[in-house]
């Protein structure tokens, strides 16, 4: 038994899993059966749906008044409109709570019954909910009546008849497209309608957005019937216009996605680029920004084109812009649009360009003023130019040619004014003398004691006479850059001129020996004498200025300084250096004679006195009034602190004086070579003497030895 009990218990234990497995299978089968029953129940609503679908074509079989408008619509859309208006059939959309109640199927049989039966049943079962619906329905009906009826055919508060339904549906169909447009545009333009203060309950319960928008629009406007339809149309038209305008404006302004069609993406890129809130919409902020930039650009462009037009530089653009259309502005602005360039940069560039035009306009206006014309029209009419009234190319070239003529006439009489404005002013000063030509007019002034510098400055003394004296050829000079040093030249062809200037350049840049430049003082002034003695004693040619002084004595003194350059400091009068002492003339020498002496003695002579360049035939020297003390000191300092004459003279001249030299003034007379040869000769002589002495002593010694023998 024990064994059996053991066997059985073992068997039981082994079979236990199989039992449990069986039980599980049973349970599964039962549940599957239950599921199958439920599945059967689900098939029933499908037939209901089929019935509903079948109702759609029936719409066309509705009374003929429906068919006019509604039947033209697509079935689905027509159904939607109808279903909204057909309140009893649309209960499920309006009251969720109630819907839950009536949708609970008591049995599959009940469920397949018609909706109307269900409603009747539900009314009975749920009277309070139905009453609430009725109230809502009545209110909405009243709203409809208020909105769509000018002269209500049905009293307010009464249920809407099927005829009224037709009317309302017709009105809605008419407005549907406009409403959709309105809804879309207000959204794109970021114009969210304000919240209604006291909305009716049916409005709050309305879940369809487009209908809600419609109700809101109607309530906001307070209009009904055709007035409402027209108002909506006008509103949509306005919004479309606004939208189109911004679409064009945004095309003008540069964005990174500037190419391609207009889209929300483009708006986004625009918003990204200019740091606006990224709404993807043409909202109020974006529109304000566009308006601001567009106006800024328009203003800059108008200014630019106005000035450009005055200059007749881009007349066609100017005319195009006058049409005031964004595409013209876009066309204009395209020239300033480059990749990555912002509006502000482009506007800045336009403004800068306009500023340049402004300057140019002012310049031409000044020229016209200078040429003594009242205005541009007067100038154009007097010279038979096209009367454009702007600074066109013909007018500009006429002004330039007139200026050139004036400049040429002034050059002929020796006036060298670089600034055309000065030329014209100078010319006008003389053209006012009636019939007298400019040249004669200037000569008259010269006779009266007035003289002119080549810069046209009137002087109280004889200056630059040779430059405008007709009997002598005017001297031609070249100014050393950044200095007041002028180099004379006589060459008529460029190559010869180049050679001459090269020669002078070499002479002035040659390094000189310290003792090579000398000063000859012909001024009897103790302060000047003392200054020269203290600062340049070794380089002074000693010449006693007393009543017994003579040119012969001077020659003798000059001959002691061969091959040197001598700056003769002296009071200049009528082509002579004159020395006064106690009011008496004690010495005089002609500058030309002194320069000739210099040539004979192989010396360079530079006359250093007031306007000395006007007082000698070679026309070299200074062109200013000089002071014997201060200016000689300046010259000496210049010579001492420089290594060549060019630098020395430039230092002396500074900004105050003009110095005129030619290729004969500072010739290289070979002072350095002369000095070397002289030393070599002296050393050679000494060597010869020493050598001779040695030779003599040797010979003497030899003789002595011979004698001793």
């Amino acid at each position: 038994m024990k064994r059996l009990i053991l066997f059985l218990s073992l068997t039981f234990l082994l079979a236990l899993p199989s039992f449990s497995q069986y039980a599980a299978v049973r349970i599964w089968i039962q549940s599957a059966r239950r599921s199958a029953t439920v599945y059967k129940g689900f098939k029933i609503p499908q037939s209901t749906l089929t019935v509903t679908q079948k109702r759609l074509p029936n719409l066309s079989k509705r009374p003929s008044s429906y068919s006019d408008d509604v039947s033209k619509l697509r079935p689905k859309r027509a159904y939607r409109i109808w279903s909204i208006l057909d309140e009893p059939r649309n209960i499920s959309k309006l009251n969720d709570e109630w819907l839950k109640t009536i949708n609970t199927p008591a049995s599959s049989k009940n469920y397949v019954s018609s909706t109307r039966d269900r409603i009747i049943a539900a009314r009975k079962a749920h009277q309070p909910a139905y009453l609430s619906y009725l109230k809502y329905s009545t209110e909405r009906t009243t709203a409809f009546q208020k909105i769509f009826t000018k002269t209500p055919s049905t009293p307010v508060g009464q249920p809407i008849t099927s005829e009224r339904h037709v009317e309302i549906a017709r009105a809605l169909v008419k407005m549907q497209d406009d409403m959709t447009q309105y809804h879309r545009l207000t959204y794109v333009l970021g114009q969210r309608p304000p919240t209604l203060k006291n909305p009716p309950p049916w409005y709050l319960q309305e879940s369809n957005k487009s209908i809600q928008t419609f109700y809101r629009f109607a309530l906001e406007k307070g209009l009904k019937g055709d007035d409402l339809t027209n108002a909506l149309k006008t509103e949509v038209a306005d919004l479309q216009k606004m939208y189109a305008a911004y679409k064009e404006k945004i095309k003008v302004l540069p964005t990174t996605a500037s190419k391609g069609t207009f889209s929300n993406l483009k708006i986004l890129s625009f918003q990204e680029q200019y740091g606006l809130p990224e709404t993807w919409l043409l909202d109020k902020t974006t529109r304000a920004f566009i308006d601001h930039k567009y106006l800024q650009l328009q203003h800059a462009a108008e200014n630019y084109l106005d000035l450009a037009y005055q200059l007749a530089k881009s007349r066609s653009l100017g005319e195009a812009f006058e049409l005031g259309e964004p595409q013209n502005l876009q066309r204009f602005f395209a020239a300033y649009l480059e990749d990555g360039k912002s509006i502000d940069q482009a506007i800045q560039k336009i403004t800068t360009d306009a500023h340049t035009f402004q300057k140019e306009v002012v310049y031409w206006q000044e020229q016209i003023d200078l040429l003594d014309y009242l205005n541009i029209q007067q100038l154009q009419s007097q010279h038979n130019l096209p009367k454009s009234g702007v600074y066109d190319f013909d007018t500009q070239s006429l002004i330039e040619s007139q200026k050139a003529q004036i400049g040429e006439s002034l050059r002929k009489v020796g006036i060298r004014l670089p600034d055309p404005a000065d030329q014209i002013r100078f010319y006008k000063q003389y053209s006012q003398r009636g019939d007298i030509p400019l040249k004669e007019s200037i000569l008259l002034d010269q006779e009266a004691g007035y003289w002119f510098t080549p810069q046209g400055q009137k002087l109280q003394q004889k200056a630059f006479i040779d430059l405008i004296d007709e009997t002598r050829a005017p001297i031609q000079t070249v100014q050393v850059p950044e200095s007041k040093l002028f180099v004379q030249f006589s060459a008529s062809n460029p190559r010869a001129l180049e050679t001459q200037l090269e020669t002078v350049s070499q002479q002035l840049s040659r390094t000189y020996l310290p003792e090579e430049n000398m000063i000859l003082n012909l001024v009897k002034d103790r302060a000047t004498e003392r200054m020269i003695k203290s600062s340049f004693a070794r380089n002074q040619i000693k010449f006693s200025l007393n009543p017994s002084a003579s040119v012969a004595k001077l020659k003798k003194q000059l001959a002691k300084s061969p091959r040197k350059t001598v700056f003769v400091v002296g009071h200049v009068e009528e082509g002579k250096f004159v020395t006064y002492h106690k009011g008496q003339k004690i010495f005089e020498v002609s500058i030309d004679e002194l320069m000739q002496v210099g040539k004979d003695l192989k010396l360079n002579i530079f006359p250093f006195g007031c306007n000395s360049s006007m007082q000698n035939q070679a026309q070299v020297g200074t062109t200013a009034l000089l002071n014997s003390y201060a200016d000689t000191q300046k010259l000496i300092e210049g010579i001492k602190s420089s290594k060549d004459l060019g630098t020395a003279l430039q230092k002396f001249a500074g900004d105050e004086f003009e110095l005129i030299v030619n290729q004969e003034t500072f010739r290289n007379l070979g002072y350095a070579e002369y000095k070397i040869v002289k030393r070599a000769l002296a050393e050679g002589g000494a060597d010869a003497v020493i050598g001779g002495l040695i030779l003599w002593s040797l010979i003497d010694q030899e003789d002595e030895e011979k004698e001793n023998r």
Partner: protein, 216 residues
């Protein structure tokens, strides 16, 4: 209106620069006229013409005042220097005279000794007398050197002193003339008078400066 002022201005620049600077500060419109040195052209005339052309010719009285002050300062300074030189020259003359007196005595003693020693055989007496005569002669030469000094042109100390006194007197006269002309001469004639005084002052300034350089 073209007086000579270069020497006067140079003299003041050297000896009384502060006075000259004050004058320049007082008359900035005549700064050009108060420059050291000579305009190596015809500056005054030109300046006048330029001023006329501008229509703003400086008032004559103001220019007169400027030149008068310049002359006054120059003469004051000149007399001061002349006084200093007089003292110096007197001292030098006195010293020269003293040395000359001593040298003459020595020469006289030396000569007398030589004469009295003729025929005597003491050698040292002969040597002493010769040496004394020689020293006297040398002293005479020294005196001559002192008198003539560094003066060139054969001027000796006395003649330089005479010149100085003459110049000093002349300067004093000019000073008086200046006062008279400023106080008593009519305005129309005042300038002519002042121009003369200024020219004369300029001339003697040059001479005074020469003497100053010599006696330094």
């Amino acid at each position: 209106m073209n007086p000579r002022t270069n020497e006067v201005i140079g003299f003041l620049q050297l000896h009384a620069q502060q006075d000259l600077d004050n004058l320049r500060a007082e008359f900035p419109d005549f700064r050009d006229l108060l420059q050291v040195g000579v305009k190596m052209g015809d500056p005054v005339q030109q300046l006048d013409q330029e001023l006329k052309a501008k229509g703003e010719l400086a008032p004559e009285a103001r220019k007169v005042l400027m030149y008068a002050q310049l002359t006054e300062k120059a003469l004051e300074e000149m007399l001061l220097k002349a006084d200093q030189m007089t003292v110096k020259l007197r001292r030098r003359i006195k010293r020269a005279q003293n040395v000359q007196f001593v040298s003459q005595i020595v020469v006289a003693i030396g000569g007398a000794t030589l004469l009295s020693d003729i025929g005597k055989e003491e050698d040292w007496v002969k040597y002493a007398a010769g040496a004394a005569a020689l020293a006297g002669s040398i002293l005479t030469l020294v005196v001559q050197r002192l008198e003539v000094g560094t003066f060139s042109g054969g001027n000796n100390l006395t003649s330089v002193y005479d010149d100085l006194i003459e110049l000093k007197v002349e300067a004093q006269q000019l000073q008086t003339q200046l006062k008279v002309s400023l106080e008593f001469v009519e305005e129309t004639e005042q300038w002519k008078e002042l121009e003369k005084i200024l020219n004369a002052t300029n001339d003697i300034t040059s001479d005074i400066q020469t003497l100053w350089d010599k006696t330094r």
